[in-house]
Amino acid sequence: MAVTNQLGIDPDKYKWGFHDPEKYVYKSRKGLDREIVEMISSMKDEPEWMRAYRLHSLEHFQQRPLPTWGANLAQIDFNDIYYYLKPTEKKQRSWDEVPENIKNTFEKLGIPEAERKFLAGAGAQYESESVYHNLKEEWEKLGVIFLDTDSALREHPDIVREYFGTVVPPEDNKLASLNSAVWSGGSFVYVPEGVHVDIPLQAYFRINAQNMGQFERTLIICEPGSYVHYVEGCTAPIYTTDSLHSAVVEIIVKEGARCRYTTIQNWSTNTYNLVTKRAVAYRDATMEWVDGNLGSKLTMKYPSVFMVEPGAKAEILSVAFAGRGQHQDPGGKVIHAAPHTQSVVVSKSIAKDGGRAGYRGLVKIYPGAKGSKSAVRCDALILDDRSRSDTYPTMEIDEQDVSITHEATVSKVSDEQLFYLMSRGIKGDEAMNMIVRGFVEPIVKELPLEYAVELNRLIALEMEGSVG
């Protein structure tokens, strides 16, 4: 589709020379090759090092085989994907084209009208934009930088360059190299030394286009003694016709700083959600991942924390819900590479209607990481006989002086529990809901309130028709 810009120039004929990034028009085509990657970088008017980085990543992506240790990824056709769409092309869908079940879910979740259209890809009105600008001014006074990553690369190239790809290098895995080659959007957060950001970032303006891309790239840097809570996603179903979401999140938590990263995602059930999330925690720093996974066809996501200096702490809390035709393969990795480091991993998974959910995790303790502690707990709740739970815990412990605990439970909703609740007048479906809500409560109580409320409502929706 040729779009004429304000100057009356057909950008298809002029695409290499036009430098206003907001007005760029890019001739989309499916597939991935050098030309596409060059085009993405050029469209974004990126510095040379990023262009080279992308190309290097592409090479690696092309050479690297698909991982086979986990879920089956063979059905993904990497050539049948648009790797970059200009913003105007993304907003082609009309509200009438949005499937009824998605609309119903918005209705039931009580998502505001403006957000519904946005979430369905049928509109882009930012109701909360003014709120965002006020907050942004306050942060700027503190020296906090909060931008989409493309803007950050333009406005703060030195900081981006210093940290980009240092936590998740492009060679890390095939999907990370894909993201490194074609990334677009995502968030960049820089918190200066000693600054505590009181309000969770993003919670107040979650409908921000650039943050919900297909290959978004997020980079968070917490300088010593700082604190930030970043929240991504929302519980409303993200309706997309994209079949692949592959993000990379890199976080650097310096001495004595604390970062919490909360994700609640509810992808439409045709999506492969393959995300690499990793943090490095320095001396006495704390990194917390809170990760809720609903929706998607397949989710593979293992937030990791490398504790590289003494006293670093990691906490990974995850909840996954797999319904019909869904496979949730979440987990977490904690790497103890220094003495007196501590980690807690809590995973809760629910499988229903033939869904498959589980836990895949790694606890690695390097020699010399004396006095380190790790506690892993993974609980699976299976709601019927057709559903399945798998647990793959891996432990590599190369130090004697450590304390490691691992607990795993797989349970079914017991008839005794249902009967107990029903004997108090509570209907069967609500009783089932209560039990499931109770099961995920340890995670939900860690969420910001509005997310907790929505997640509970969403679970109730997922649970509809579970009993008789």
């Binding site: 029903m422 004997s423 007048g425 209560m434 109770g438």
Partner: protein, 276 residues
């Protein structure tokens, strides 16, 4: 029409028949004590009345205010005013006692989509906690999780007080409680009986006559091997206390013959009778 009428109720668990034709009529305003040795079928009766799916009714019927109780789901029974205080309440991790109570009371009071207003609920909860001398902090904990035996039993009574049933089954609520706790529970039940002004009937299942010193039954029934064998007034409980279940059992055939001949039985000047 009786409020609760059990007729020839025969029940099995898996392949084993536990109740073998039980009959009982109970009305609001009455307290029926049901006694019997372990394994006689008391708890089975309680669970079947509430609709526990583990138990299968083979034969017989139960009418609740003239309607077929066995055709109703457990939640419907509860909403219509039936209650059971469980012998072994299960825990529900992650669900706080207060949210559970609010959901339950709302259901019982006919709130369909919405829950009962929180202020009204809190007021009711506080009143009942005070009356039962229960530490309020406990309702912030998860349902029965990590509760002591005594706490569980008291919380069952709290639920009963909150739900204001018309017919309540108390399944060995006294067992495992020390004497002070038994008194507190009994006081609570007596208060409910008084407040209900004849609108509460209780089937009080107990292994020991101890609690009957505090809650005066209108009738006492004894169950052996899945059947009601002896019924009587409060004196029967004392008789049992003296002779024990074995004593009653030994006399059972004699008693049955006497009833056959005279319609009633007299022991030490007091009357009790065999009704079954």
């Amino acid at each position: 029409m009786a409020d609760l009428e059990i007729r020839d109720l025969t029940v099995q668990v898996e392949e084993k028949v536990i109740l073998k034709g039980a009959n009982l009529t109970l009305n609001k305003g009455e307290v029926h004590a049901l006694m019997g040795p372990n394994g006689s079928g008391k708890s089975t009766l309680a669970n079947v009345l509430m609709g526990n799916p583990t138990y299968q009714v083979v034969k017989g019927e139960v009418l609740y205010k003239g309607q077929d109780l066995l055709a109703m789901s457990p939640d419907e029974r509860a909403r219509r005013g039936l209650f059971i205080a469980f012998q072994y309440p299960v825990s529900i991790p992650g669900v706080t006692m207060s949210s559970f109570l609010r959901t339950a009371v709302s259901a019982r009071r006919g709130f369909d989509k919405e829950l009962m207003p929180v202020g009204e609920f809190q007021k009711l909860l506080k009143q009942k906690l005070d009356e039962l001398r229960i530490e309020p902090a406990i309702v912030s904990r998860y349902v029965n999780e990590g509760f002591s035996g005594g706490e569980k039993k008291r919380l069952e009574i709290l639920q009963m007080a909150m739900l204001e049933p018309e017919i309540a089954i108390m399944d060995e609520t006294d067992s495992g409680l020390d004497i002070d706790s038994v008194k507190v529970v009994a006081d609570g039940v007596n208060r409910m009986l008084a407040q209900a002004k004849g609108n509460l009937g209780i089937l009080l299942i107990t292994h020991y006559s101890r609690i009957l010193h505090f809650i005066k039954p209108s009738y006492v029934h004894v169950m052996f091997d899945g059947r009601f064998v002896v019924s009587g007034g409060p004196d029967l409980a004392e008789e049992l206390e003296q002779s024990g279940y074995e004593g009653i059992k030994a006399q059972f055939e004699v008693i049955a013959a006497e009833v056959q001949a005279e319609g009633a039985v007299r022991r030490a000047g007091k009357v009790f009778w065999v009704a079954h």
